[in-house]
Subunit: 194 residues, 2 copies
Amino acid sequence: MSRYQARNRRADAVRSRAAILDAALRLLRADPDASVEAIAAAADVTRQTVYAHFRSRERLLAAVVEQVTGETAAAMDAADPDTGPAAEALLRVLDAAARTAERYPGLVQAIVTNPVSPRTDREAHAPISERLIRVIERGRASGEFDAGLPAGWLATVTITLAHAAGEQVAAGLMPPEEAARAMRTTLLRALTPP
Amino acid sequence: MSRYQARNRRADAVRSRAAILDAALRLLRADPDASVEAIAAAADVTRQTVYAHFRSRERLLAAVVEQVTGETAAAMDAADPDTGPAAEALLRVLDAAARTAERYPGLVQAIVTNPVSPRTDREAHAPISERLIRVIERGRASGEFDAGLPAGWLATVTITLAHAAGEQVAAGLMPPEEAARAMRTTLLRALTPP
């Protein structure tokens, strides 16, 4: 195989991987149980090609989680986490994350109710936690947030309350605006020193 | 079949159901993936008998969840939810619930990371939520807790933060005492009006 052919083949592989991920995102959004067969068909590749890129459905799901996490992290970075009061920055960054997650409703629910694995899930969440912790550390340093509680715990509280509000909305128990307001009030209160 | 025989047969069925549930609790505690075969063997019945009582492994798991929920609710009731300041009652009741859950560590983790189904899970949690909501309503009425936020949201916050603290401990991220202290501080702050 010539160098030219090898380069072409690599470009093909990159394209088919992207097409599979794209199809997986679209299908899983509509149906969290979408099969590898259906994803392959939507990406216009064979089932074998999917398995050549992702060893199992679980691996494919993990790659999808990684992709969504990357988009979420980018949206958080675009929301000016390092500017202004930490409380406002935190709500801004959370809002940006929620807007990204809202684009993949079925998907986020699928991941929450059926995580790939607790460890994978924690690792996948790391880029999100890191960004929250940076804002939280800034708030702890400025005295806006309680420095008497570990930053990791405050990040857990933030993620947990944000997910809980999303679940209340998804379950039809609270209208979106009420859930957002309740979440913000509770969260800021929980973070603020006495 | 005589009435006497029929009564005997019913008593046998009750005993074998109890033995299966008991074995399931013991085995799932050690290994959340314990098979129906292993549970049948531990209960000294056949696999067919297990399926005669519980149509599927999922149904058996749901019955186990119901059993643990019942024990938890009883422990909460024994912790004097209706006496004294609501904040103290809430922490007392949560503590009683946590002590019951601690008796089934593998099991609670199995349910959290792999819920039977979000709906079943919510229904199974109902007796626990109801007890928390009763204390929360009392605190909202007395002004100890914020009546400006829905009682259902405050119960969600309570359950969510309690689970989060448990997960931090299970993942080795926080020592149990630190997690309990952080959870109590955060929770009471979140519930207290400004």
